[in-house]
């Protein structure tokens, strides 16, 4: 892929490096099909008798290549009976426009900055560009992926389907555990229901029974459940790519969640949000890097340890060039619109606010179209997973 973001190396590895080509989105519809088979096996859903409906479930185009992973039990009845209405259709169109704008107007813009930073060697990279690149990538990956989910959910609505949400403002989280209940929700729930819970019910109990004579109750529980958590996050890392960067990335998530689970309970404050957001951004550098060596070099540049300047002309120019997209990203990755909706609701301005939103939607669509036709369009990152 052109801008060389994250590559699905796992399947290339299976091909022995001979360039075995696999269809885009394979990890999404594989997981979706697995959920159907497991649910039917567990007796949670009835087997679908119609090949047309099964085909529709597996290959429904809006979310086929990059999620959300739609679970069969959430959609089984909708396959045969859906409600269509003008309201639902127009809600779908609105949702689609929001997703398109997120992708074209924010993600593809800040991507230029992120790509610039991550295409340089550590020693050539000023500290300012490294920090800017990290923030830009953090904004890019959220607007890219949640934009795609918005478009999929919107298109689904236009056809009468109700998909579950895939994102819930992940960057406002106050812990990494909370972050994973808000980011790529359909994947987190998939791993929870089809790997974490099954392993916890059987395997973890067996492990604990085996080790309990040697440890205290608390320690043996921490080891048994920690082992399961470790396996789940290793698998989540490998789902993203069979590359050491993703293994380390997954295990870092395990380490944070395990720590959060076992630390003394504390009151969540504004600082919990700041610390969590910092961790989220720093860890994203690993998932954006092609190798661990590169990630380390990038961190060194952020700290000015590569005898690189704090800021240079390149950084000043490019940070200036993309400051508007960066600011837009920063404002809208938090629930700003929701806050405004709450303020407008019940006030005298509520009518004007609705009209403004409708006009903004048209403007967003036109601007997105102009930018997309202008050749700035880039494929979605998560197509590669």
């Amino acid at each position: 892929m052109g801008h060389g973001v994250v590559r699905r190396k796992f399947f290339y590895a299976l091909g022995g490096g001979n360039g075995l080509r696999l269809p885009i989105g394979i990890s999404f519809y594989t997981f979706q099909s697995l959920s159907y088979l497991i649910d039917v096996y567990r007796g949670k859903s009835e087997a679908q008798n119609s090949i047309i409906n099964t085909g529709l479930y597996i290959s429904f185009f809006p979310q086929l290549v990059a999620g959300p992973i739609v679970r069969y039990d959430t959609i089984a009845t909708q396959l045969t009976s859906r409600e269509h209405s003008f309201k639902k259709f127009s809600d779908g169109v609105e949702r689609f426009c929001i997703g398109l704008a997120k992708k074209v107007l924010v993600a593809d813009q800040v991507m230029q900055l992120a790509n610039l930073a991550f295409s340089q060697h550590g020693s050539d990279l000023s500290a300012a560009l490294a920090w800017g690149g990290m923030v830009a990538y953090t904004i890019q990956v959220y607007f890219d992926f949640s934009g795609y989910s918005d478009m999929a959910i919107g298109l689904g609505k236009m056809f009468g389907f109700e998909f579950r949400e895939n994102f819930n403002y992940p960057y406002i989280s106050r812990s990494i555990s909370e972050y994973w209940r808000r980011w790529h929700i359909s994947l987190g729930e998939w791993f929870r229901d089809y790997l974490y819970y099954p392993l916890s019910l059987g395997f973890a109990v067996k492990v604990r029974r085996r080790i309990s004579p040697y440890f205290s109750k608390q320690t043996s529980l921490a080891i048994a459940n920690g082992l399961v958590l470790f396996i789940v996050w290793l698998a989540t890392g490998l789902w993203h790519g069979a590359n050491m960067t993703f293994v380390v990335w997954g295990l870092s998530q395990f380490a944070f969640i395990f720590y959060e689970q076992h630390r003394k309970p504390r009151k969540e404050t504004f600082m919990s949000f700041v610390k969590t957001f910092a961790v989220v951004m720093v860890v994203k550098v690993i998932s954006r890097s092609d190798t661990l060596t590169y990630a380390l070099d990038f961190y060194r540049s952020m700290l000015g340890l590569n005898s690189n300047p704090a800021i240079d002309n390149v950084a000043a120019y490019w940070l200036g060039q993309y400051k508007i997209a960066m600011m837009l990203g920063f404002v809208f990755m938090f629930p700003t619109v929701e806050k405004l909706n709450d303020l407008a609701r019940g006030s005298k301005l509520s009518g004007a606010w609705e009209i403004f939103k409708a006009a903004a939607m048209v403007a967003l669509f036109v601007m997105s179209a102009v930018y997309a036709i202008g050749g700035n369009y880039n494929p979605f990152i998560y197509f590669d997973f």
């Binding site: 567990r42 209940r181 229901d193 099954p198 916890s200 019910l201 109990v205 608390q218 529980l221």
Partner: protein, 78 residues
């Protein structure tokens, strides 16, 4: 049964106040990680095996609900 469960859980998971509410899961006091801890403890102590369908918020929202689930499992075992 309820008291026994409370004693067990407070020993292994002292960070969690199991009597804080009757909607432990819905109030966010018990997340999926904590539920799994409870399941492990109860499975070991009462020698029962939970089914995946039993991992619902209703079954873990209160000590009463947990006790009822364990009673049910013990009955099925007999």
């Amino acid at each position: 049964m309820k008291e026994k469960i409370l004693k067990l859980l407070s020993e292994t998971m002292p960070n969690i106040n199991f009597t804080a509410s009757n909607s432990l899961v819905d109030d966010g006091i018990l997340d999926s990680l904590a539920i799994v801890g409870v399941v492990n403890e109860l499975s070991l102590e009462f020698d029962v095996t939970f089914d995946i369908d039993q991992l619902t918020p209703q079954n873990f929202n209160s000590l009463d609900a947990m006790a009822a689930t364990v009673e049910q499992l013990l009955k099925e075992k007999r």
